[in-house]
């Protein structure tokens, strides 16, 4: 058992009120004064010599071994004087504070580490620090070593403006490295390589020249059917229907490919499909997840905003602006105002610890989540690290982080901070409704008055109450959307270890990371959070980083692999682009088109690179296993949404309607789930639908730039046993059986078109029919002649189970 009672202290300074509180918290109740051991050091003794210029190794040692311990165990009482007088006058927050010491004199004696006040306290030799628990032997050894090294400590400022880590040569050199980092350098304008017979779009030039240099062979063009199926799933997330396939195969016009691509890009299904890719980044969900999984009843308005924006080919800078600061933009009419307000749902959608009782922590975490998401999604940067310390690799300092945090602390994302707090939803302006509400208000008040005239509990009051309720039900209500609004401007200081209770120094002025900003930085308004400025800066044409990031995403969505991988990682440690000139060229083109996704996607899908066939040839794959040189098209598995949507589509069950509230997974006859496109199915963060998880729908609580494509038995179990594929098989089986029995081969071909999206030769169709023939039937003659509906259904199920269904060539 512990014998914490009997806690000994040397001097009476520990008995100051705060110290008593701290000690008492840990149940250390009995004090005794033991005037032994260490005589107090006169407080006017000269401070120890300041350590000479610390070496990088010394600083690293301090930062990794010493500073975290000071922050965790010491600074609460021995913090910077800027936070109020430290215990015993001793501040451990800076080198000077440690050297000067407190009432017991300098905390360290570099010439006699072991006998330093600090070491004695840590050893529980006379003093006992930290009071709640002795630090472990390794930590003590680290402190001893650190003092022996001359106590290197880059934290020189005593008060006012601590700039953790931001000074010193190490930081300077990192910043220099950062300034010349490829990802943030101005976009390079390079002439496109000369076009060859192979190339179809300018972008092919770079792909071809790098491939030639590497000596990698290119596959021939994909068949028209394979290209169409690839295109259809990439752009629409749906299979091409047999009529489209037939028409395209027969289309001999020179611009047949262009026509199909344009048709698809103009189709609303394209927006639904591309929206899903953005929603992965925006960590879209219909519930909060985290600790209290409350539903987000109107999150779907943000989802619909994404679909509409993409459908209208909204310029990318505007998309960014509306999502970060839509609430602050002027609007020509209320519809635009509604749209812009709804877009800011982006900032509110994150998972929040609603029941966290430490409300300042809840807000700090919420801001952190917003910063992290903004950084990853728009800039390919991980800012989250800098909450606790300067970024380990990138020149992103803690000050940079808190400069950004100030912008979001000046923004309201929460309705309240109640026991279980409520996120912010805002009413969407609607003049007609508002006028109607105003018109009805006097009547409502009158009814209220009538009710209040009766005493509580009386029959009359009940009646009047009922009347009032009925009337109120006829008053129109303004729609609501998750959205932010401006708060009070609040700048925040750096916090030690990201702990919201341990501010260091003065508030940091709001701004954007020094590394990424131009020389003048981004000036913040005196009133207003600064979100407009932030969004403007992100999509400024000079912000090459942000344009590279979005160009890279559009490439990923077209070619299944990004040029910069991972695609939300553009920091100093990022792998350089496989085709840097191409990336810059794409970013330029995107800028030229004012950020039109559709035009960019069009160039990509019409390129020779996109038209290349995939292959299963092992030698070809071995020549470039990662397909870095695009000698073939990546074979891909349909994603979660496409699998369901395809099954619904080929069964004739798909409801292609647009927008609105999220559909319940329990919907659909016979347990097949909702028949709307899967985009519209409810995303519950705390009870993620099994189906979605099985097919690699990653995680609706974090920004996901690319889903994995796994192959797991649960996917097969779905295709084997779930009512949706089984119903699909039955429905198609029924249709197949009702076709003329003598055209069995054509029926098999028709199924091949519907399910595999390709035209089967007579020979192949015949072979398939023979394979599928029930064993009871004779082997000669027309194999399908006597097939029942069930036999046809079995064939359909076999076609769905075959890898060719899930796999896109």
């Amino acid at each position: 058992m512990p014998s914490a009672i009997g806690f000994r202290v040397l001097t009476d300074w520990l008995l100051r009120a705060d110290a008593v509180r701290v000690l008492a918290v840990y149940g250390l109740l009995a004090f005794s004064h033991l005037a032994t051991a260490q005589p107090p050091v006169a407080s006017d003794s000269a401070p120890a010599d300041p350590p000479s210029q610390p070496t990088p190794e010394g600083i690293a040692f301090f930062e990794t071994k010493i500073w975290p311990v000071l922050v965790e165990h010491c600074l609460e009482c021995h913090g910077s004087p800027a936070q109020g007088p430290p215990e015993a006058g001793l501040s451990l927050a800076s080198a000077a504070g440690i050297a000067t010491g407190g009432t017991l004199g300098p905390a360290i004696d570099p010439k006699d580490a072991a006998n330093s006040v600090l070491m004695k306290a840590l050893r529980y030799d006379g003093l006992q620090m930290p009071p709640d628990q002795r630090l472990d032997a390794q930590t003590l050894a680290d402190f001893q070593k650190w003092i022996d090294m001359g106590a290197p400590n880059p934290r020189q400022e005593e008060a006012g403006e601590p700039s953790p880590g931001e000074s010193g040569d190490r930081w300077q050199s990192r910043m220099e490295e950062g300034r010349s980092h490829w990802a943030v350098s101005p976009l390079q304008s390079n002439p496109t390589p000369e076009s060859s017979l192979w190339s179809r779009e300018p972008l092919d030039g770079w792909i071809e020249s790098s491939r030639r240099q590497a000596g990698v062979e290119v596959q021939p063009e994909a068949t028209r059917a394979a290209w169409l199926r690839r295109l259809s799933f990439d752009l629409l997330g749906l299979p091409p229907d047999p009529q489209t396939l037939d028409a395209f195969l027969a289309d001999e016009r020179p611009d047949a490919y262009e026509r199909i691509a344009d048709q698809m890009l103009a189709h609303p299904a394209y927006a639904q499909r591309a929206a899903r890719q953005w929603l992965d980044l925006a960590r879209y969900a219909d519930s909060n997840g985290a600790d209290e999984n409350h539903g987000f009843p109107v999150a779907w308005r943000y989802r619909d905003w994404v679909v509409s924006a993409i459908n209208a080919d909204m310029p990318y800078p505007q998309m960014v602006m509306e999502q970060i600061a839509g609430d602050l933009l002027p609007a020509a009419d209320h519809r635009i105002a509604q749209r812009q307000l709804t877009a800011t749902g982006f900032l509110v959608l994150g998972p929040k610890m609603l029941a966290e009782q430490d409300k300042p922590k809840m807000i700090a975490d919420l801001v952190d989540e917003q910063i992290d998401t903004i950084g990853k999604v728009f800039l390919g940067m991980t800012f989250g690290c800098a909450r606790c310390h300067d970024h380990k690799f990138d020149p992103i300092s803690a000050r940079d982080y808190y400069a950004l945090a100030g912008i979001l602390h000046s923004t309201r994302s929460m309705e309240n901070e109640a026991f279980v707090s409520q996120w912010l939803e805002r009413e969407l302006p609607d003049p007609d409704k508002q006028a109607e509400i105003q018109r009805l208000e006097p009547q409502r008040q009158e009814l209220q008055k009538q009710r209040d005239a009766h005493p509580e509990g009386t029959e009359e009051r009940k009646e009047a109450e009922e009347k009032l309720k009925q009337f109120e039900a006829t008053i129109p209500k303004l729609d609501r959307a998750m959205a932010v609004e401006e708060g009070k401007v609040k700048e925040v200081p750096v916090h030690a270890r990201g702990n919201h209770l341990q501010p260091i120094g003065q508030p940091v002025p709001r701004g954007v990371p020094v590394w990424l900003a131009s020389e003048d930085g981004v000036p913040m308004p005196g009133s207003g959070s600064g979100r407009i400025e932030l969004a403007k800066w992100i999509t400024d044409q000079n912000n090459a980083l942000a344009w590279r990031v979005i160009a890279n995403r559009l490439w990923l969505w077209s070619f299944q692999q990004p040029l910069v991988d991972p695609s939300s990682s553009f920091g100093l440690k990022a792998s350089p682009p496989t085709h840097p000139q191409l990336l810059d060229w794409l970013a330029f083109r995107l800028q030229e088109s004012e950020g039109s996704w559709k035009r960019m996607r069009r160039q990509m899908v019409l390129s020779a690179t996109y038209r290349t066939a995939s292959t299963v040839d092992r030698d070809a794959i071995a020549a470039d296993p990662g397909n870095r040189f695009y000698g073939r098209s990546a074979r891909r598995r349909m994603d979660a949404e496409s699998v369901r949507d395809a099954l619904l589509a080929i069964s004739g069950l798909l409801d292609r309607s647009f927008g609105g509230q999220s559909a319940d997974w329990d919907g659909g006859a016979g347990g097949i789930g909702p028949t709307r496109r899967t985009l519209y199915a409810n995303i519950n963060r705390a009870a993620l639908n099994d189906y979605l998880a099985t097919f690699d729908y990653v995680e609706p609580g974090v920004a996901v730039d690319r889903r994995p494509q796994t192959t797991v038995p649960h996917q097969s179990l779905f295709l084997m046993n779930h009512p949706l594929p089984l119903q699909c098989a039955e429905r198609l089986g029924e249709q197949a059986a009702s076709r003329p029995p003598e055209s069995g081969v054509q029926t098999v071909q028709w199924l091949g078109q519907k399910i595999w999206g390709r035209a089967l030769s007579d020979q192949e169709a015949n072979a398939i029919a023979r394979l599928a023939m029930p064993s009871s039937q004779a082997a000669e003659g027309e194999p399908t002649a006597s097939w029942t509906q069930g036999d046809w259904a079995a064939l359909v199920h076999g076609l769905i189970l075959a890898p060719e269904f899930l796999q896109l060539d």
Binding site: A687, M720, E764, L771, L799
Partner: protein
């Protein structure tokens, strides 16, 4: 399909290669390496020899009161009704009043003399096999945050759960079954995140059997059967699908993605045959059923889950979690804690005995825990508030010192005080027992390497043998 596929480890090594190596080929090499490791020898561990192959985690949801169960506080009894003589935490979930003594008597048990209250008479008989951690502490005072903390290490961000990390690190012992299964999990308070894979590949998330509130009959794994076509017809269709694929490539094997999809389908079919048998307990002897309390109404439900946990663990599932709810006694402490303890005490003891009798205890770690403790101060006159500052867990299994009690709280049990063990330390220790260095089991996501223990975690070496 050959019937010998049913049963443990009976499938060919070649299948493992297909299943493990190719399944996730497009995503993560690290996990594959881990899967290969298991083939080399499961006891080898990932980084060093493992003491434990599998974990069964008995999770008591709601917050079991440590000071009413395993953390005996004589002063609390003495000072009943007096104010707490030191400060309460800065942040509290609810306001509490003065000290409230435990309504239950404590007694010392076994050779080791561990104190256990009369809430757990059957577990008390086994204290010489248990290792108590009495100085656990977390950081979140609400259920959701606390659940996420103990399951994922983070109460702030979305992170993979410990079972997912174990699955990722060690792979599966039985390719016919998932490597991480959770029985009757809660869907609130973090829900799937508590047993999810977050950014780890999806196959590492737990397979869910039943859900909270459905204590009677745990449901099956989804899509294990259908009501339309029988297994023979399904088998025929699967064979057709394979032949269709061969036809397409004229007998050539096709690429890895195709062969792994075909083998995943075979595996799915075997799972479909094997899993339902595992979930059926009618083959267990009468003695075993009694051991788990299946013959008593109050213990039958949890007993069945514990028995199921043993069956799954025995079949090679790496991490099995069983959840029991709901220990959140802000009031009705006397009645509810007694009732809940009555539901789990006998089955837990039964599980421990059964594992020992079958020799499974030599490679299985049983972990008993809860998301936080409760305050020694009273809420109302018959309740206690959440207390993340101190709680008790225990474990049983190889590699740890039995009969030992590590760490201690203050005199009243409000704060973990001596040899404090943070949740991260617990995680580091668990991984260590499985042969995993918690600092080296990492996964790249969003530009950096992540670990279960983030940047924390100290192995509690003092409890290791």
């Amino acid at each position: 399909m050959e019937s010998d596929a049913i049963g443990k480890h009976s499938t060919a090594k070649m299948t493992r290669r297909n299943a493990a190596l190719q399944i996730c080929s497009s995503v993560v090499a690290a996990s594959v390496a881990a899967a290969m490791q298991t083939e080399a020898g499961m006891a080898a561990g990932l980084h060093f020899p493992a003491r434990v192959k599998r974990i069964i985690f008995l999770f008591m949801h709601g917050g079991v009161s440590h000071i009413d169960s395993f953390d005996y506080k004589p002063l609390l009894e003495r000072d009943d009704g007096k104010p707490l003589p030191f400060a309460k935490p800065r942040v509290q979930f609810a306001q509490t009043g003065n000290l409230l003594k435990s309504p239950w008597q404590f007694r010392q048990h076994g050779q080791c003399g561990a104190w256990v209250s009369e809430l757990f008479p059957e577990v008390a008989k086994q204290v010489d096999h248990l290792t108590f951690l009495k100085s656990l502490h977390g950081s979140n005072e609400a259920h959701g945050g606390a659940l996420l903390k103990i399951h994922t290490g983070s109460d702030t961000f979305v992170r993979p759960s410990m079972g997912a990390w174990v699955s990722y690190g060690l792979g599966s012992e039985n390719e016919n079954l998932p490597s991480f299964i959770t029985i009757n999990p809660t869907l609130g308070h973090g829900g799937v995140q508590n047993f999810g894979a977050a950014f780890l590949p999806a196959q590492h998330q737990a397979t869910r059997i039943g859900s909270s509130g459905n204590l009677e009959e745990p449901a099956g794994i989804s899509n294990l059967a259908n009501g339309r076509i029988g297994p023979e017809e399904l088998r025929r269709r699967i064979d057709l699908a394979s032949r269709l694929e061969s036809l397409r490539h004229s007998g050539q094997p096709g690429d890895d993605a195709i062969s792994s999809r075909l083998s995943a389908m075979e595996l799915a079919f075997r799972m479909q045959s094997e899993a339902p048998q595992l979930l059926r307990i009618d083959g267990e002897t009468e003695a075993t059923r009694r051991l788990y309390g299946l013959d008593r109404p109050e213990t039958a439900a949890f007993g069945k889950q514990c028995l199921l946990a043993r069956r799954l663990s025995e079949a090679g599932v790496r991490f099995v979690q069983v959840s029991h709810a709901y220990w959140d006694q802000h009031d009705e402490l006397r009645e509810k804690h007694k009732e809940l303890a009555g539901q789990v005490d006998l089955p837990i003891a039964g599980l421990l005995t059964d594992l020992r009798q079958r020799g499974l205890m030599e490679e299985t770690l049983v972990l008993w825990g809860t998301e936080f403790g409760r305050t020694p101060t009273a809420q109302g006159n018959n309740g206690r508030d959440h207390n993340p500052h101190a709680f008790t867990w225990w474990m049983a299994g190889p590699g740890i010192r039995p009969g030992v009690s590590w760490g201690a709280t203050d005199e009243y049990g409000f704060y973990a005080q001596q040899d404090r063990v943070h949740v991260h330390d617990l995680h580091a220790t668990l991984l260590h027992l499985l042969g995993i260095d918690h600092q080296r089991l990492t996964f790249p996501y969003g530009g950096r390497e992540f670990r279960l223990t983030d940047v924390h975690g100290t192995i509690v070496r003092e409890i290791l043998t």
